[in-house]
Symmetry: C2
Subunit: 245 residues, 2 copies
């Protein structure tokens, strides 16, 4: 039990911030330092502690804001839809298309979809938000023959899940999925508007049609760990619980 000054301050601020609604701007480092009569290093350490606990988001030049993580639950019997998952967690989803172009599938992508390498597919690159905060970034690969009209469709309906349902007459479900925690490289940090070295999730999924079994698309998506609490469920449901020994 380290009785350090910065941890005491962090504890106190954590309690204060818990009362505030998410997105509230809070005092800066200089102000914290003055308020508690400590140097800026101690004040900074306290704020960084809160950032590690994912209680605040800090923006260079901007300020520090209270934050709240949203559960992103991956399981076989949940629809593989970003918007639906976010909405079920009680937040507002939004996605913007960064690019949507036909490309030859690299070998790893093609093998996930059971196609020969070099076959053409649309690569849909998007950034997604929860409550207007950047939370996810990555690619969706959709083979030509699955949905040739994807580029036009995506302009009117932002949910790929919905497009597949309506225009490809499919009922998408997860065929396989894989998640791990990584450290953001420069490109990922850019896509997620976070700092290089921040912890991020890497989620790769293959979706298939629930009726015909045909493989529909392959998704490789990075998710900010401070935005989403990714929970992976295997087999039967496990009731929710509060973490502690």
């Amino acid at each position: 039990m380290p009785e350090t000054r910065f941890r005491q301050i962090a504890e106190l601020l954590a309690a204060e911030f818990a009362e505030l609604p998410p997105g509230t701007k809070v005092a800066g480092e200089h102000e914290i330092a003055e308020r508690f009569g400590v140097g800026r290093a101690a004040a900074r350490a306290a704020m960084q502690e809160l950032q590690r606990r994912m209680l605040v988001r800090r923006i260079k030049g901007g300020g520090t804001y209270t934050a709240k993580r949203i559960d992103y639950i991956i399981s076989a019997d949940r629809a593989p839809s970003w918007s639906r998952t976010v909405r079920e967690a009680g937040a507002v989803p939004r996605s913007i298309v960064l690019s949507c172009e036909p490309l030859k599938m690299p070998i790893d992508v093609a093998s996930h979809l059971g196609r020969p390498a070099g076959e053409s597919a649309y690569r849909l690159r998007r950034r997604s938000f929860t409550d207007d905060l950047p939370a996810s970034w990555g690619d969706e690969w959709v083979p030509f023959d699955v949905l040739p009209q994807l580029p036009t469709a995506i302009r009117h309906e932002t949910s790929l899940h919905e497009i597949l349902r309506q225009m490809a007459a499919a009922s998408p479900e997860r065929a396989s999925s894989r998640a791990s925690i990584e450290v953001a490289g420069d490109d990922v940090a850019d896509g997620l508007e976070c700092a290089t070295g921040d912890p991020v999730w890497l989620v790769e999924s293959v979706n298939r049609d629930g009726v015909t079994g045909r493989l529909l698309c392959f998704t490789r998506r990075w998710i900010r760990a401070d935005a989403m609490r990714v929970v992976f469920e295997l087999g039967g449901h496990v009731p929710p619980e509060g973490a502690s020994a």
Copy 2:
């Protein structure tokens, strides 16, 4: 692309450390500061960057050592055994029993096992190592009637999986599992011999007998994120890949 001094140093050291075998002691902060002609804050930032990337382990008063993460793969068709999983990843597993005592199951544990709350079970608390480094800590709950002789058995055979196979004539497999990333509290940090606030995995699993379907045990285990790269696989296998956009 931030051209900061500490990141340059981190980059350079990362390349150097990559050549070293895991567990090698490397230069300390003071020495790094002197070598690169910077203050200790910059040297420290560089080393912390490497720690965030999970390339080194730092021990207060001890020193800094090169590290290597091991894949811990959770999937329905893999045996739910710590020792086997670690061995398959190419490391040496070891476990020590911290306690093994009969307790009345709290409601959340009991419900996972389909038992009434308050029923008796052994709570087996252990710390596990990979290559003699602390990596995991947590509890295994085994109902009395599943394995009444657990306390004596665990003294001779450290693998619960093996004990269940041999003494309960069961073939354990995962019934359900749930994983998420958390921030270590004081108790967890103590069990894992890491710092409070470090990122850790929380993995909860229910195991059953593959033949009879009977629920055998419930596991709640914390895993150091710098020791293991937990990978969760749902559905069919996804070939391994190298992370990058």
